[in-house]
């Protein structure tokens, strides 16, 4: 035992052996001398650098991928032109739309040409939430093309998809053929060399981006284009709408009470100012919700993990703010529009539950579905959840376009409305895919009017985006059933006034730093002025990190895709 061997009871045997087989040597070999330590550390560092640099030479993955892409491309194009033998196409089954049909025909001709073999597998990296949707797409796909298999690599959290995608960009291992990403990451993914430009496939196969069946503009453009080139297929839409409790807003007693207290009508708010008043009214009433909890007037995102920026950005853009100067790329957020956005949010704060500032984004859904919020804003999936048979607000959940901000445009007062489109899943084909064309065709198939309708209605996190789904009587009833008809109308209008997430390179970083500061302001740990100037300084250094000119080019291209109302205000203010 230690006692017997440790006669001076100073427990010196942590590093030194208890009893060595060479007790004669009393050298201080047991002790770690400081000098030895420092030399070793520096040595480790130097060795590390050398080994790292050597490793760099040895561990380079083959740069074959890039070359293959270009050669296949040119060869494909010439082949189609000189093809003489007609390819037999199976007659379309009844009801399959032209976009899907073109995709099926494309695959069949690839197989016929030998460019794809039966038994080939397409691997898709995606997030767990879209699994139901993708499985539906696979089910429908196998009805027409059973010989091409699809394998799903499912991850639980969105940041994990981002990490894996960026890791793939580094390792170029060919782990997957396509990945569904947030549009916010588009800049990063493209610049990292992972995303394959698909303008060629667009022109060859026409995924239906024009005319009545087209995905709604401006969303279709700003979620798929980067610096003017096409990199993604729209797979989803994520425009925010205002969800509200219709029963409380139409209750005659409450309407009277509100009119007498505030001197205006209780109706869907047109501006945030109006909404604040209504939120105050409802919160002070301290009503009880169907769940037994208390009713809050409002719940808008302010949480630190990622969503706080959405509310701020919404009000900022509506006030006519622009994120970066279009000539110099200077951040223009510490302006009066930025301060106004904070002003509105802080005035809303007393009428929102504290969870808006601390809990995860899912708590907003939970509260509304239980009837504990009067006004809230979130993704379309909120309406889906609110219409489930088990939702407590099932019969009274309403949807509307988000309120706007009254802005002075060329002398006239105008209410500018703009809806944020945060995240938004899009499908990107990897540059290291085994068969990019085949992979692309799967997604054209899965996002086509007919198939896409089934895919979207099956799961929860993907939402509608083609115009025909809103307007064509062939499709609309199915969506009305899933979302509610008031939602479908409100959503169409919201899509038309929607604006993109900051999807230039470094997007997640810009927005991440903004979110943390918005949350700090809402929690009361930071001043709005400080928050804005610190964020602006952070954004400045991100600009410099990637090169101001490169960022400016991307920003200019993106700003051009903002909705026309917003651009009009920018012009009036001299920003554009």
């Amino acid at each position: 035992m230690i006692l017997y061997l440790d006669s001076n009871n100073d427990c010196e045997n942590l590093f030194m052996p208890t009893a060595r087989y060479n007790p004669m040597s009393e050298k201080v070999e047991g002790k770690i001398s400081r000098r030895r330590f420092i030399t070793a550390s520096i040595g480790a560092g130097v060795v590390g650098i050398i080994v790292g640099a050597a490793g760099a030479w040895l561990l380079k993955p083959e740069v074959v991928a890039e070359k293959t892409v270009t050669t296949t491309l040119t060869r494909e194009v010439t082949k189609t032109v000189t093809a003489t033998a007609p390819i037999t196409v199976t007659p379309p089954p009844v009801g399959l739309d032209v976009v899907a049909q073109r995709a099926i025909d494309g695959v069949k001709s690839l197989i016929a040409k030998g460019a794809a073999k039966p038994g080939d597998t397409i691997r898709i990296l995606h997030v767990a939430g879209s699994r139901a949707n993708l499985e539906k797409a696979i089910e429908l796909w196998s009805k027409y093309i059973p010989e091409i298999k699809i394998e799903l690599i499912t991850l639980g959290q969105e940041p994990d998809v981002y990490t894996k995608a960026m890791s793939e960009a580094v390792t170029k291992a060919g782990t997957f053929d396509a990945v569904t990403i947030f549009s916010t990451w588009l800049g990063d993914i493209v610049e990292a060399g992972l995303a394959r430009p698909i303008d060629d496939f667009f022109s060859k196969y026409d995924p239906g981006y024009t005319g009545d069946i087209a995905p709604i503009e401006p969303l279709a453009s700003y979620t798929t284009l980067y610096k003017g080139r096409r990199y993604a297929l729209v797979f989803d839409s994520d425009v925010f709408t205002l969800s509200y409790r219709r029963d409380l807003l139409t209750d005659p007693k409450l309407k009277d009470q509100f009119r007498s207290q505030y001197g205006m009508e209780l109706k869907l708010p047109d501006t945030w100012e109006e909404l604040i008043k209504m939120a105050e009214f409802f919160t002070k009433l301290n009503l009880t919700a169907p769940s037994g909890g208390r009713v809050w007037g409002a719940y808008f995102y302010a949480e630190p993990r990622f969503a706080a920026y959405i509310t701020w950005l919404n009000i900022f853009i509506e006030s006519g703010g622009i994120l970066f100067d279009l000539k110099t790329m200077d951040p223009k957020i510490d302006t009066k529009e930025g301060k106004y956005a904070f002003d509105v949010m802080l005035r809303l704060k007393p009428y929102m539950p504290p969870e808006a500032i601390t809990a995860s984004w899912a708590d907003l859904y939970d509260k509304f579905v239980k009837g504990e919020t009067v006004f809230t804003a979130a993704w379309p999936s909120l309406s889906k959840e609110a219409h489930r048979p088990t939702a407590l607000v099932k019969d009274v959940a309403g949807s509307a376009v988000l309120p706007g901000v009254e802005v002075d445009v060329a002398g006239a007062k105008k209410i500018v409305r703009a809806a944020p489109n945060p995240v938004n899943w899009v499908a990107v084909i990897s540059n290291y895919a085994k068969n990019p064309e085949l992979t692309y065709l799967f997604f054209q198939f899965a996002t086509s009017p007919d198939i896409g309708k089934d895919v979207i209605l099956t799961g929860v996190i993907l939402d509608l985006f083609r115009r025909c789904w809103f307007t064509d009587p062939k499709y609309r009833p199915a969506f009305e059933e899933g979302y509610g008809s008031e939602f479908v109308d409100a959503y169409l209008r919201s899509l038309e006034i929607s604006f993109p997430d900051l999807l230039i390179r470094g997007g997640p970083e810009y927005l991440g730093k903004l979110t943390v500061n918005v949350n700090a302001v809402m929690a009361g740990t930071k001043d709005p002025e400080d928050a804005l100037s610190e964020t602006a300084a952070d954004w400045d250094s991100i600009n410099k990190k990637y090169g101001v000119d490169a960022q400016l080019e991307a920003w200019r291209a993106l700003a051009n895709l903002f909705p026309s109302d917003v651009k009009e205000v920018w012009r009036a203010k001299g920003y554009m």
């Binding site: 052996p17 009893a19 047991g30 330590f37 997030v127 767990a128 499912t154 708590d363 799961g459």
Partner: protein
């Protein structure tokens, strides 16, 4: 006499208080596993409408299409469970074996010197987030991504230091005279190790094995990045339970219970050794 009764009383009191403190969150987890979505974010413990759905879900995900808040279809838990058992079990055994030999050399012969020993602590000081990309690059070149072998190697390398340090503590306590006696009687060095030292520190092997097992069983970040489909482990699987309404707390709680079963079983089996760890000293 009085003294004894009071101290007995205090002991029970203290232990009961501590046990309640431990068990309250456990109770929360257990009741959560029987709750459906509307009851996840509540203040009361026992569900008003208990359901087995969460448990069914983790084995048969397709059963729950359309259920409120639970539309994430993930694979059944069987593969991740088996993977975890395999990977964590193998790496624990490897860590303990290598740890034992290293600890023996360090204890008796200063053979990995104290400097190298200190260096092994380094493996525990790295924030995994930065280590992830380099190891991804390395593994992808070695074609070890999404492989059991790759994970086993990584887990062993990262936890071997626990094995070394704990076992060194145990081996230090074995009186060297016993080994010397055996040597004098003509045993070879290896025989001394296996016949004299090893049996005595068996409980040390068990203790360090348990700690290493627990650490690896819960490891998430590396498994997330280094596995795709085939070598998915249990913690990664738990993290996949995300639906349209955010994380699915009910199924995750059910998985937590399931996941803790294995360490509990192992802990129960080895409890004999845990309790009597070190007590070889009595013999002396």
């Amino acid at each position: 006499m009085n003294h004894k009764i009071i101290s007995k009383f205090t002991r029970y009191l203290v232990i009961i208080i501590f046990l309640s403190w431990i068990l309250i969150p456990v109770l929360w987890m257990v009741t959560l596993a029987f709750k459906s979505y509307p009851e996840w974010r509540v203040a009361y413990f026992f569900p008003k409408e208990p359901t087995f759905m969460n448990f069914i879900l983790i084995f048969e995900p397709k059963q729950i299409v359309g259920m409120m808040g639970a539309t994430a279809l993930v694979d059944p838990v069987t593969l991740p469970f088996i993977n975890s058992l395999l990977v964590v079990g193998a790496s624990t055994v490897l860590s303990v074996i290598i740890g034992f030999f290293t600890a023996y050399g360090a204890s008796r012969y200063n053979s990995p010197g104290p400097f190298s020993l200190f260096f092994t602590l380094l493996t525990r000081m790295l924030p995994p987030a930065t280590f992830v990309t380099p190891i991804m690059v390395y593994y992808s070149n070695l074609k070890l991504l999404d492989s059991h072998l790759g994970l086993i190697m990584l887990y062993s390398a990262v936890t071997v230091t626990y094995g070394i340090w704990i076992l060194k503590g145990f081996i230090d306590q074995v009186p060297i005279e016993w080994e010397q006696a055996a040597l004098l009687e003509g045993a070879s060095h290896l025989q001394v190790v296996f016949r004299v030292t090893l049996p005595i520190v068996k409980s040390g092997l068990v203790v360090s094995g348990l700690f290493i097992f627990l650490l690896n069983w819960a490891e998430l970040l590396f498994a997330l990045v280094l596995t795709n489909v085939q070598a998915v482990t249990l913690p990664v699987h738990i993290s996949k339970y995300v639906g349209a309404v955010g994380q699915l707390y009910g199924p995750q709680a059910a998985l937590g219970i399931l996941s803790s079963l294995i360490p509990v079983i192992i802990g129960y089996i080895i409890q004999k050794h845990l309790v009597t760890a070190f007590t070889f000293g009595m013999v002396r």
